[in-house]
Amino acid sequence: MLWNALLLALRELRRNKMRSFLTMLGIIIGVAAVITLVTLGGGATQQVTDQISAMGSNLLMIRPGKHMGPGQAAGSRPFKLRDAEALEREIPDLAAVSPTMNSSAVAIYANENWNTTISAGTEDFFFVNNRKLDKGRLFTANEVSSGAAVCVIGETIRQKLFGDSDPVGARLRLNRLSCEVIGTLAAKGQSSMGHDQDDLVVIPLRTFQRRVAGHTDISMIQVSMRDGVETEAVQAEIKRVLRERRHLSTTQEDDFDVMDMKEIASMLSGTTKVLTGLLGAVAAVSLLVGGIGIMNIMLVSVTERTREIGTRLAIGALEWEVLLQFLVEAVVLSSFGGLIGIAVAMAASLILTNVLEVPFVFNAAIIITAFLFSAAVGVVFGYFPARKAAQLNPIEALRHE
């Protein structure tokens, strides 16, 4: 009997192709919007997670002053090289420690120049920051302690200043410092905070202190934890060592901050997840509106087809058979709209993930959910018109003009 109702409903929808399509449009847009937004949001979350793990999820960043999040804080006592050495010596859970300085500079080669960032660190800088060599070599512990005039450049600088020529062996000017390019770093792309991680020149810390900064302050210590150690325990250890070295009494607050990249990662992906949920909810409202559209058209259709319903009742259709026919019509409309919506969403997601350069994450759960929701919309909003049709008085319905 359900099969018969389906057959009758399909015949009816076929009779009114244009109207059927327009009725479905609301559902199509709703389903497509929900799936596309959730897919894009999933892609963005995935991207953030990927980037953070590429940054090195074992990374802790220690900076002077109190930090509420990423960004510079000025005005508090900087670290010294000895602080970094003490951490490395006293905390066995650390795999590597890199005291780091950053400064902006104009890099000049031949007649090209480029505004960039100088990062200065020890030979461990590359390990801690999870940077891989592309060509040439990295600087050695010897070069760090002697303050050699060498540098390793990021992909952006290589492109901007050297183009197609080989940069290894060339001499690059950074403000007043002239240094030899000994290697290039593999590209890493944009960070999750949107800054270009390849726009940097890395030089040995000693070189930086002597020839660029003119002092021995350290603005940041990056440490890499060994795999499998408790982040909280390491953080506590670092705080203990540094509080001791900075002579803080028990009543004083920390005047430095230990940031965990994992924490930042989960915070950022949490934010994108909330945004995705929010956008999805807004899109779900349009699905609901699509359902109301179906109800509207079905009600009009019942009025318009009153005589037909009267005829069906007269030739022996039972009340529930008429109800089922109209209900199935509504469900077929809405679920068929849902299927078209899924197809539209897949196409839109593929195009948009390409344009926005986020990964395409196929989310079967949201597709199934959106489809079931669209079918449910048909049942809920189709029931009222269907009941109205089924309860018509056949005599009056036959007389209806």
Partner: protein, 245 residues
């Protein structure tokens, strides 16, 4: 036209198809009540061809609705093939219509943009017949009304007379006991009307189907073997028509 009161039942079939006893139908309540039928007695035997006539408001439509099990009487008994049907529920009456009654309407009431074949097979669809059975019987019924080759035509592509023939095929496809026709020629010119009346006569004669037809054209009523005239909610006279075709 020679006439005699209350025709005698054919001896071969003692149980009448339709038996109305003291049927009343009252619409509305309190001061606004309208007595549509006021004690109607009517017996129709198998194989009869009855024309129901009367001015509007005479109660003939109400009587037809009750005969067609579309409506229930307020009081009185209605036996269909000996079975009391006055107190049936809505769905029970629908099943009775589905299995024993065929309907032909003045306005044809075919589904638009739907082929003749699909229109005719509609009652079989509700009975749950298989696709093969449906198509076979619908084709047969269309052939009976002289519309072979028009199975794929939609009502819009058929003339009024052809549409009414599709409607008759739809009414006949279930092999009903009784065919109820409500002014079947009301929307047709005289040539088409005579065609339709000949078809109804043939169905009545060849298949033994009892035909009850409402009309207000005496020329059409003349095709019937018996004419029942309604006035003011009662049967004014009930005449047998010797000249019935």
């Amino acid at each position: 036209m020679s006439e005699k009161e209350t025709p005698s039942p054919p001896a071969s079939d003692p149980t009448p198809v339709i038996e109305l006893r003291r049927i009343t139908k009252i619409y509305g309540q309190g001061d606004a009540t309208v007595v549509a039928l006021n004690g109607v007695d009517l017996t129709i035997h198998s194989g009869e061809f009855v024309a129901v006539m009367g001015p509007s408001g005479s109660g003939k439509s109400t009587a037809m609705n009750i005969l067609g099990c579309l409506d229930s009487p307020t009081s009185g008994t209605y036996r269909f093939q000996g079975v009391e049907v006055g107190g049936l529920t809505r769905d029970q009456r629908a099943l009775l219509r589905r299995n024993y009654l065929g309907f032909v309407f003045q306005g044809f009431n075919l589904l638009n943009r739907t082929s003749a074949l699909e229109n005719v097979e509609l009652p079989l669809l509700y009975r749950g017949d298989s696709r093969q059975v449906r198509h076979e019987r619908a084709r047969e019924a269309l052939a009976t009304v002289g519309l072979n080759g028009r199975e794929k035509h939609t009502p819009g592509e058929l003339s009024g007379g052809q549409q009414q023939r599709v409607a008759i095929a739809r009414a006949m496809v279930t092999n009903p006991t009784v065919l109820l026709a409500d002014e079947p020629t009301g929307n047709l010119d005289s040539a088409r009307s005579i065609e339709i009346m000949n078809l109804l006569c043939a169905i009545n004669r060849d298949r033994g189907v009892t035909v009850i037809m409402v009309t207000h054209e005496p020329e059409m009523a003349a095709f019937a073997k018996r004419t029942v005239n309604f006035r003011d909610g009662v049967i004014e006279n009930d005449l047998s028509n010797r000249g019935g075709v």
